[in-house]
Symmetry: D3
Subunit: 236 residues, 6 copies
């Protein structure tokens, strides 16, 4: 129960797997994981079109205090994604342009923060992607200890240092380090399969037929009827 | 009490009325309806500038399950807007790019979903407009029956199949099928009237005078006073 | 306890101070104020990139009723920012394009509304910036009295007529009239200081060193450890 | 499109069905309906142990305005439950002790309000049950028209005048008038069945066996494993 | 702009007025004030039946930090009600049994806190009433300065030290010090009037008649119709 | 990546530690843990005065589906507390009286569910304590697989099977299995210390003096001033 620690770690996900899931994005990777690992949709990107994948460096911080954000930067390097959680809910703007400048200098790819962010015009101009619970200029203090590179829960997702973070317009996903290669392989297979389906759908094929769902509907007791009275029948 | 049904229906709103309210948009049509029919503002477009009007095809689904979305597609055609509600609150990403591909192939104009949507980058690139409660990559199953083309409540709005859905940057509106021609006529009158007002306002005329509200204020006991102490007087 | 009043006031913040804080923005000004005065982050701009600073003209209104918005316009002039609060929570679209036309004709710079706004496509096209709690087409009545230019609470921020409103992508700030010159001076000093830091950070200097925080961490009992077991140690 | 109406109606649900579902409560009746008709759980009783069932008299009101609550009382009689919805979201205290006094004098059984209520200490002392979205002393005006005995959406539930309202500690349900006898019969069957199960469960029988779910689990691919490493394996 | 201060003040509301509004409660006093001053309904009592009125002693605190709660106690005395606000939103349990013990020893009547409270079983057993945004055991630090007896905004209500706080099952109200005698007088008149109405309502008189609202309804265009088709006509 | 598993586990926390933290409650144990492990305050008990501590048996379930709740019961025994999480947010009433009957027959002490619960009148009468996100009668299906005794995140708290759950009126806490003895010892020390403080506070001693905080305030720049103008000075 060592309370406040900064952990130096070599945990690194497989770089090829990171590249694959970064290219395929959150929705495909999440499906390839068995529909797990997604953070709640309160985390939104500060500008459209952002997409990253990288190694998680984690911070656990007191709400309203960004001391540990300063402390974590030294633990970050090229290809990392910083993940910040607070010990209780907060929307304060713990992170802004000066932090992004430091992280950019170290090759960090982006930030996931279960709290607030500010200087969003500057961050957007820099092209530094952030997924946050809130945009808020509320300033923070530097008075209370916390930890770096310990497991955290961010917006309901459990993140360990070294796990893979994937984030895009659809949200934020945490892929466990050890599952990365297998998931990347599955995601690639899924992508190929989706492209095939897309073409069939463009040609007018129905999912109902392609997936053989007519039987499922019948088995589940769904029946087809013709509308007779415009205001009768309700299922609400 | 036929529990799970897919209703084939010919209910169709007047196409000219649909064209008119689609051009005039949500705010004007809502006023022309007597300020009714608006869905709660939790439904937001996934990209700015989207605007649609069309016939409602409705789906009532189990949360976390998109089986009935597959089932509904066959009931959709050119000019329709799909409206999806769930039997209890959900933000799961029930709809994505492959669904939009199927709907586009059938001429469907857009989606209103009181749940989540994913693949928003792809949907934006396709120009397929969606109004949703959340953006979420959370995947769904295909295990539980529901209904198609039954009346539903979506974000507080009561929608029957065949009603007119109008949606733009200001939100989502449901206009009852039978009221569409009268509302379209009123909305046109309102538009003409607004243009006239706009010109007067540009010239510096005050609404206070144009609408004769000075008397209203006086009758309601609102009085004009001059500020004397900068910190006195409060109405909060 | 004069209940419903429209106050004519000459309270005017220092114009140079307004110009400075408008240029420096919300986050810097908020820090220069001692981290005070920020409205809650529920107030969001209707389009990215908006930025204003100006004198507050305030409205206190019944929810669902925009009579007092009509009444306030006459009290607004060049350089003002309108601030609207309601006597109980509301998301109704109390403000739209015709109001913006009237305000633009008088030189008003923007709107902060702790309620809803509509016609956002039109407002965006006009370049009239609005910070609002919600985007909603819900129409309002004109039946109930309220007040103009009395102190209000908007999204948790206390605003008196004549105070300075600063608003940008990071949120909305209220700077008390009498503090404006001193805060503007501090904000300028802060800006200079930030530019210096930015350059150091770009060169790879760490905040940890620049701010002398290593000692703080040690004093607070934060210790450095090396990762040994990938799944041990938790601080969550 | 008659905008503001007070509808005098004789729609009355079957009194025996009302008595049955009132005795069996919300959860059992909701299951007997096919898991439909439930209002969202934001509606909570003001004191524990309240339970009612009765004919719905509906009100659609402007937020912050209780004029139509006054107008509806004359339409209420013995055994009725008043259902109040607003045209946009509100938590104002539209209803209090004086209203409950009037309704009690007419034999009304309770109130369901998708808005706020006040005088809760007095209402509790009177034993007048209320299910509300909020408890709030916020006073309202009497200035804007609405309707009585038109279909409304309250907390997501569609309610027509004459439908059966069932409410208890578990929430609020709307049972369509025409389905009441059939649902009451199903609910009685369900109750008998539940009592039988309860006794088996008290004796230690497992639902897994009673419902034959072991096969379902196997078919769905759920496997049993023995814990080997205390921190490995995750499904989160 | 003295940033962090503890203000010693003699501001005291009229004790008779405090006694009157404490007896009459929040709803009546709020009406007597012209329907102002109410905090948002997120502030709820930790047990039913609590009721207080007293002089406000205010605290403005960093979220997650209760240092200033310690600092304020010395400024509290018999008949006071402590009011705690944070500089940004928080639900942390800043207050518990040991604080209540200190306040009870000084004759303080209760607490209003726009944050969290803990030890609620102990506080309930002590009979120390608290109105809070949340019940949370989340512990806080004592590291960051704030102020005592400065004006604060708590749950949307503006409270100055010395104002009257009234709180009961219906919520929390702030009555400005200088208005207290006049409001108390109005509240007494209102109470007498309500008792009279209550008796008439018990005898079956309708508010519609007592308040002469039939004319209002007619003037506003509300019409009476007889139900003819059970599913036609809608106002939703 | 074994997707859906039911894990049989012998992980058992130290029974004496469980007894101690159960007696001392959530707030004291949370402090003894270094202010960690608390679930978000959305989890509330269904009746006041409930208190439990016990071994966590965990369930991860599809929203709207309680199949895995049936599957988990066999894994529960005397002294356990069931912890239910869903793969995406839900308020459905997944648990009710029949489940509680099964669990009571096996000696289970209570339920923590990051979703909804129903039959709360029956559960209250049985004295079966539940901490839930919502009370909702919404029924669920039994169609989709999940897991039992895998680590889960419930209301932001990370819970592994075998960890200690402590729950009372102040909320829900998860104490890691391996830390239980040390935390129990610290909690006992804390309790002794609190009793001593309580007596001093009852005698009128101030925390300000007892904790030596006057120096802290001075060091942090907090200054004492006398109130001079009733409306000047603000810190809001």
């Amino acid at each position: 129960m060592n309370q406040h620690v900064i952990v130096r770690t070599d945990r690194q996900p497989d770089p090829e797997a990171v590249a694959v899931v970064g290219r395929l994005g959150v929705a495909t990777t999440h499906e390839a994981m068995g529909r797990r690992g997604l953070a709640q949709p309160v985390l939104r990107p500060i500008y459209p079109g952002a997409r990253v994948a990288g190694r998680a460096v984690t911070v656990l911080s007191q709400p309203g205090d960004n001391l540990m954000l300063h402390a974590c930067i030294e633990q970050c390097g090229p290809g990392d994604v910083l993940v910040v959680a607070t010990t209780s809910p907060s929307t304060d703007g713990m992170f802004g342009g000066l932090f992004a400048t430091q992280l950019t200098a170290r090759g960090v790819r982006g930030l996931v923060i279960d709290a607030g962010v500010r200087d969003v015009a500057e961050l957007t101009a820099m092209g530094f992607p952030v997924w946050a619970r809130a945009i808020s200029a509320q300033g923070t203090v530097k008075a209370t200890p916390g930890s770096v590179n310990v497991p955290v829960v961010a917006a309901g997702a459990y993140v360990r240092p070294g796990d893979v973070i994937v984030a895009d317009d659809d949200g934020v996903l945490c892929l466990p380090l050890e599952d990365a290669p297998e998931v990347a392989a599955r995601a690639l297979a899924r992508e190929a399969n989706e492209q095939e389906k897309r073409e069939k759908f463009q040609a007018g094929v129905l999912g109902l037929d392609l997936y053989g769902m007519r039987e499922t509907l019948a088995r589940l007791g769904v029946t087809y009827i013709d509308d007779q009275t415009t205001s009768g029948g309700r299922d609400g």
